[in-house]
């Protein structure tokens, strides 16, 4: 990593992120960092990151620790955030791929969001580790047929509730 204030050595083309780490080959030297700007819940955050930096680490390193890291291979859904409105797994997205994009995390969900109230009312939260990911997924799929909710939730594991309260809460919030 370069010291703060150093310019990234990556070659930028067309104002976007084009290339990073060009001098990493062969010598065991760390790849050059790439300058990335991500709008997190509406606020732009710029940082020089290694190309391998996962979006979930970029988010959590900015102090937004509501997004959880579970399996790192796409099985658990705990890292679900919204990238330009779509639910994505922040463990399976590189920070450089979110350059110039809008990322919404659990911290960006209003306190009076109907899903939050419904999760309280239906006791759909126990340990809470899965909750942020599930809320970000369900918020992005608000207009979906409630009958297919169990399939929608297939990629988000909850080891506490048995899913029933989560599905009931989701239905009641629609």
């Amino acid at each position: 990593m370069t010291a703060p204030g150093d310019e990234p050595r990556g070659e930028a083309r067309g104002g976007g992120v084009a290339r990073g780490g060009g001098e990493a080959r062969g010598g065991g030297e760390a790849p050059a960092p790439v300058r990335v700007t991500v709008r997190l819940n509406g606020t732009p955050h710029t940082a020089d990151v290694e190309p391998r930096t996962l979006l979930v680490d970029f988010i959590r390193d900015r102090g937004l620790t509501g997004t959880k890291i579970g399996c790192e291979d796409g099985a658990c859904g705990a890292c679900t955030v919204q990238l330009d409105g779509e639910p994505v797994l922040a463990c399976l997205t590189l920070a450089v791929q979110a350059h110039d994009a809008d990322v919404r995390t659990i911290e960006g969900l209003d306190d009076d969001h109907p899903l939050k109230a419904a999760f309280h009312a239906h006791d759909a939260v126990q340990c809470g580790f899965c909750t942020a990911g599930i809320l970000m997924l369900l918020d992005a799929h608000r207009h979906q047929d409630p009958e297919t909710l169990d399939r929608t939730l297939r990629g988000n594991l909850c080891r506490c509730t048995g899913y029933r309260p989560i599905i009931d809460a989701s239905r009641s919030a629609r």
Binding site: L89, L94, R154
Partner: protein
């Protein structure tokens, strides 16, 4: 874990991508199969070539043929009214792929290029006789011809969450039968029998013939029978 360090190249065109694809470089499309492998360090690469901005994201019908650019998201396929109306098999199969969040990023081309033998889309595309268009090592598009007149389609699988254990995709029309199972393997004996009026159960047994293990054979036969019944076969 986290990936080993790599160089990142965001290709703005197919030419740029091809220039960058040297040595052990890997193509990054949706990343929903590659990132887990990189995170686990099961795959190590010194360069990732991101093709998401290479102009391969178009989903359209041209001259009756469906063109799926290599970076068309699985979610885009799932939501496309054009696909649902004219190539319903793709809509039926894509709903079973991964989860909503992986389908947001995962691409149709990536499923094909990664070619996991349990993946749904290669089976559906095999049943549709899809063409895979390459430039050098890079898959740039998938082309699917119109279905025969009066065609009906079906996709069924047996899954315990994650990738399915067995699955089958079928296209049935007068004088036409296509049956493909996971791995994109066609079942010519079953197809011949269907054209000659075989029942779903008979054809499904033929489609599963030669598969090792009674349990797996039963799962494939069952998935094939259900897919055929979806497509209107008695």
């Amino acid at each position: 874990m986290r990936p080993v360090p790599f160089e990142y190249v965001a290709a703005r065109s197919v030419d740029e991508a091809l220039d960058a694809l040297t040595g052990d470089a890997r193509v990054l499309a949706g990343g929903q199969s590659l990132l887990p492998l990189l995170n686990a360090r099961a795959v190590r690469t010194s360069r990732l070539v991101d093709v998401n901005a290479a102009g391969l994201g178009l989903l359209r019908r041209r001259g009756g043929v469906l063109e799926i650019g290599a970076t068309v998201r699985q979610a885009a396929l799932e939501r496309s009214a054009l696909v649902r109306e004219h190539w319903p098999l793709l809509a039926q199969a894509v709903g079973h792929v991964g989860s909503p969040a992986t389908r947001s990023r995962g691409t149709v081309g990536g499923s094909v290029a990664h070619a996991d033998p349990r993946a749904q889309l290669p089976a559906a595309l095999a049943a549709l006789d899809a063409r895979f268009v390459h430039r050098g090592p890079l898959l740039v598009a998938i082309e699917v011809a119109p279905l025969p007149p009066g065609a009906r389609t079906g996709y069924a699988e047996f899954s315990r969450g994650g990738f399915p254990d067995a699955g089958a995709a079928v296209v049935l029309a007068p004088d036409h039968a296509a049956v493909a199972r996971l791995g994109g393997v066609r079942a010519p004996q079953a197809e011949r029998a269907l054209r000659e009026g075989a029942s779903a159960r008979e054809a499904a047994a033929l489609a599963a013939e030669g598969i090792d293990g009674a349990h797996r054979r039963a799962l494939v036969a069952d998935a094939t029978r259900r897919a055929l019944e979806q497509a209107g076969c008695a």
